[in-house]
């Protein structure tokens, strides 16, 4: 059933779009323009349906629920991934824009807007995506879990596996083996689950090559996710949790740890020590010439005497607060997210009015529940 086609009583508009057609059996590729009449409320998916019905039955795209939950209709509009069912056409028509529709990126195209999701699912499987309760005896009824303790994975549990984040992932473009935002978000869905007892194994695996530290933090995944999963935030939570649990065999983790250590000790980034602390002595010796050149041109300060900020006590106090309030690890990120959500939804003024006063250098208030 094409929903758009049968509701003829609604006001209509003329919609134009261009679609990159592709035939994997011949390798032929062409940009075709289509113009159809459609009700004003149509989505991109409705327009594709009208094109397929009335213009060209060979147009291929996936669809099912048309209500943003099945994840079938991920595709690109003007080069950025969208769910076709979630994209209203009226605003584009109003400004006379003719969008270009193409298949998602970072996945092989099979036909027109249909991609091979095989690599996507392979990466989901690579994060052992099922609950592992370890050797703990299973309860007769349900696990007893506070709402507070499951809320941290609610965003990741929302993921509909549409692939929009993977389509836009810069790291995956450079390294096709990178696990990618969707699989890593799925990984955090288990690491953050209080019922799961395999988090150390999971974090060790996710810290390997092509894992969390290969993310370039471009935030395109957060931007393109149609469900608000924020995969980059999940990756950040995995990183923080890894460091907290002492899983730091990757250079990325060591790099991150040195930022913290530097800020805590001097209030600045101790750049000259960054390479030895991250990559080790051998790599540092190899890069010595480069480092000397940087120093000669004033690009990095000399390591001695250490360059200490005037108000280094503020930096140290901040560090202490995060430790005392248990804001290290994934939970710290979650608390931050919740604070932002409160600001966004319930406190248009910005800051929380009931926020406790924190005076730097003094004992911080206890963590909130």
């Amino acid at each position: 059933m094409t929903e758009a086609a049968v509701h003829t009583e609604y006001a209509t508009m003329d919609v134009a779009l261009k679609i990159w057609r592709y035939d994997s059996s011949t390798g032929e590729r062409s940009l075709e323009t289509y113009e159809v009449e459609a009700p004003e409320w149509v989505t991109l998916l409705d327009v594709l349906d009208i094109v397929k019905d009335r213009v060209d039955g060979t147009l291929a795209y996936r669809k099912s629920c048309r209500m943003m939950i099945c994840g079938s209709c991920g595709m690109r509009m003007d080069g950025a991934a969208v769910l076709a069912c979630r994209t209203r056409m009226a605003p584009l028509v109003e400004r006379g824009h003719v969008p270009v529709i193409s298949a998602m990126g970072n996945l092989p195209i099979i036909k027109d807007l249909v991609v091979d999701m095989g690599p996507f699912w392979g990466k989901i499987r690579a994060v052992t995506p099922w609950l592992d309760t370890g050797y703990a005896p299973l309860p007769d009824r349900e696990h007893m879990v506070e709402q507070e303790d499951v809320t941290p994975i609610h965003k990741e549990a929302l993921c509909i596996m549409c692939g929009c984040c993977v389509s836009e992932c810069n790291s995956m473009e450079a390294d096709p083996d990178f696990l990618g935002p969707a699989a890593l978000a799925k990984g955090f869905r288990f690491v953050g689950d209080p019922r799961d007892h395999a988090d150390v194994d999971r974090l060790n695996n996710l810290n390997d090559e092509h894992g969390i530290w290969d993310c370039t933090r471009c935030y395109f995944c957060n931007e393109r996710c149609p469900k608000g999963v924020d995969p980059r935030d999940a990756i950040a939570k995995l990183g923080a949790e890894s460091v907290k649990q002492g899983i730091d065999h990757d250079m990325g983790a060591k790099h991150a740890k040195w930022f913290v250590k530097s800020a805590e000790t001097t209030g600045w980034l101790r750049e000259t020590e960054l390479v030895p602390k991250t990559q080790g002595i051998v790599a540092s010796i190899k890069q010595m010439k480069f480092a000397m050149n940087l120093a000669r041109h004033g690009k990095v300060p000399l390591p001695f005497p250490p360059h200490v900020a005037d108000r280094v006590d503020e930096s140290r106090a901040l560090r202490k607060i995060t430790q005392l309030q248990d804001r290290q690890g994934a939970l710290g990120h979650v608390q931050g997210e919740r604070a932002l959500a409160r600001i966004e939804h319930t406190d248009p003024g910005g800051a929380r009015r009931d926020a406790p006063e924190v005076t730097l250098g003094e004992t911080p208030p206890p963590a909130e529940g």
């Binding site: 059933m1 929903e3 039955g57 099912s64 939950i69 099945c70 349900e142 549990a157 929302l158 319930t346």
Partner: protein
């Protein structure tokens, strides 16, 4: 050539299909799933509100109370033996889902949270915010991955292989790469969901084209209570996108154009939490009598407050904003009844067995029957899990005690010839106008309220559409992702099911549950019609029959809310 042979082949990968596959695998069978869409794309994932089980986490509850509510909700057409099984096994099955990792919302004590739902005597609906179906689909697929169960993804099951009077697998079309494939199996479980695409305004996905029911019908298997199509009271205009009953469970109001909570005139006690058929009829009456708002009524959430809406009804808010341009924090949502759930389906016993040996059915495509003439919100997910499990267990046991699978070469050859005939045809009509016309007329003539003359006219319309369908032309002649072909085949399924529905609807000369005939037979008639309709295809066409309702302990009473 037979692509593969399995002990158990599950057709469809929604909650029922995946649950059946897991159970059969754990019983030691070689299991495979075949699905025209990837498992997580299945429409079970769109279920929002929750899953009913008498856990007693929110108040005193018992399987017995759950069973009574279900029997009453079914307008006494539900089979009470099946309902008792469902309600007794439900708590254990929900705990199982939780232990597998389902992310349920929680009570203050840390148990699974439960909310009130329509026509339920206790807050019994376990939920995960308003994405319960999504959470269950995810956890079941996780368990499928854990067991490494073979999934034939994007294979369209088109015919059942029947040989030696038993079902021995399916003939399928490979959507991704083209070609007819024969997959043999000792037992086949169809779990293909509903047929909501028969209607223009429906909550159902494009994939819900009644495939399993039609496969069974064509194999001569009985379909039960096909006239019973539930209209959900809160779907968005114009597309029919579902707004969960959970909104009313959380306290939302239904208002007419006068700002009146009109349900006080239809269900003064239960109000917005009356049964779905009752509310849909009330809404349609308000709209028909001129108290609607542009053909809708209003679902008002504003008094719930931003915090509750954001926490528990986040997805609902997003749907309303994207598809109706309304933020429910500030404005009421325009809603109307839309086709939602098929209580009828393939006639099965309490183990999912059909009238054809080695063929099983579970979930919405089956009719056990636990929903009778009207399903309660939250009982559908529960049915998929409990009866999916039972069908998987029985099918595995049968398969492990029987040895051979025969797929006659002619079965595949016939299918290939049929595809070729269809693809070679160049002169004729493309399917979409037939499909749109079917959906529009089903809505007009076989909707919330039914009239004898309209149903008869609908029968004639369907016959005319079938004549047109016989000459249908497929535009795409290629092999790669040819869903132009599969969509044409789906339309063939829908037309046959529509015929069955009209036949059963005309036969039931009473008003019961979803089958409302206020103009000629306004009352329920237990003397004559406390029985199931059965439709079967025979050599001389469709045949109508009846089957008694199983009554264990609840005699029919008047049904008020």
């Amino acid at each position: 050539m037979v692509e593969a042979k399995h002990d158990v082949l599950v057709v469809g990968a929604g909650c029922a299909g995946m649950r059946a596959a897991i159970e059969a695998f754990d019983a030691g069978a070689d299991v495979a799933i075949i699905s025209k869409i990837h498992p997580v794309r299945s429409h079970s994932g769109a279920a929002e509100g929750g899953i009913n089980a008498a856990l007693g986490n929110a108040s005193d509850d018992s399987p017995e109370k759950h069973a009574f509510d279900t029997v009453k909700g079914s307008d006494y057409l539900g089979d009470q033996d099946a309902i008792e099984i469902l309600c007794n096994e439900a708590p254990g099955d929900v705990y199982q889902l939780e232990r597998w990792g389902a992310v349920f919302s929680r009570t203050d004590e840390g148990t699974i949270a439960q909310r009130p739902f329509g026509a339920a005597g206790a807050p019994r609906t376990a939920y995960a915010a308003d994405i319960t179906g999504h959470v269950l689909i995810q956890v079941l697929y996780e368990q499928i991955m854990k067991r490494d169960i073979r999934v034939y993804e994007e294979y369209f099951a088109w015919k059942l292989v029947v040989d030696d009077d038993r079902c021995q697998g399916v003939i399928a079309w490979n959507i991704l790469h083209g070609g007819v494939a024969a997959i043999g199996a000792k037992t086949t479980i169809v779990c293909t969901g509903g047929a909501g695409r028969l209607y223009v305004g429906t909550t159902n996905a494009y994939a819900c084209t009644g495939d399993g029911m039609a496969l069974a019908l064509r194999a001569g298997v009985a379909l039960e209570d096909m006239e019973m199509m539930q209209f959900h009271p809160t779907t968005l205009s114009p597309t029919g996108v579902l707004i969960t009953e959970g909104t009313r469970g959380e306290g939302a109001y239904l208002l007419n154009s006068e700002g009146d909570r009109f349900l006080k005139r239809y269900a003064p006690n239960a109000m917005e939490l009356a049964s779905r058929d009752v509310i849909s009829r009330a809404e349609q009456t308000e709209i028909d009598e001129g108290r609607g708002v542009d053909g809708n009524v209003l679902l008002d959430l504003r008094h719930l407050g931003a915090e509750k809406i954001l926490e528990r009804l986040h997805g609902t808010r997003e749907l309303a904003m994207v598809f109706a341009g309304v933020d429910p924090i500030d404005q009421p949502i325009p809603v109307r009844p839309g086709a939602h759930y098929h209580m009828g389906g393939v006639d099965t016993d309490v183990w999912g067995r059909t009238s054809l040996e080695a063929l099983y059915a579970a979930g919405e495509c089956a009719c056990v029957s636990v929903h009778g003439a009207n399903r309660l919100g939250g009982n559908a997910l529960m049915e998929t899990i409990t009866f999916g499990k039972r069908a998987g267990a029985h099918a595995a046991e049968w398969a492990l005690t029987h040895t051979t699978v025969t797929v006659p070469e002619s079965a595949q050859a016939d299918a290939e010839r049929e595809v070729k005939t269809l693809l070679d045809r160049t002169e004729g009509e493309r399917p979409w106008a037939i499909r749109d016309s079917l959906a529009q007329t089903m809505h007009e003539n076989f909707g919330v309220f039914r009239r004898e003359d309209e149903m008869q006219r609908q029968g004639e319309i369907i016959a005319a559409l079938q004549d047109r369908y016989a000459h249908v032309v497929v535009d795409d002649k290629g092999d790669v992702f040819n869903n132009d072909l599969t969509q044409a085949l789906e339309l063939g399924f829908l037309l046959e099911l529509a015929e069955c529905m009209v036949m059963a609807g005309l036969a039931r000369k009473e008003s019961r549950g979803a089958h409302a005939r206020p103009y000629d037979y306004p009352e329920r008639d237990d003397e004559e019609y406390l029985k199931h309709t059965i439709v079967r295809r025979t050599d001389s066409g469709l045949m109508l029959d009846w089957k008694p309702v199983d009554i264990t302990k609840w005699q029919p009473m008047e049904r008020t809310y």
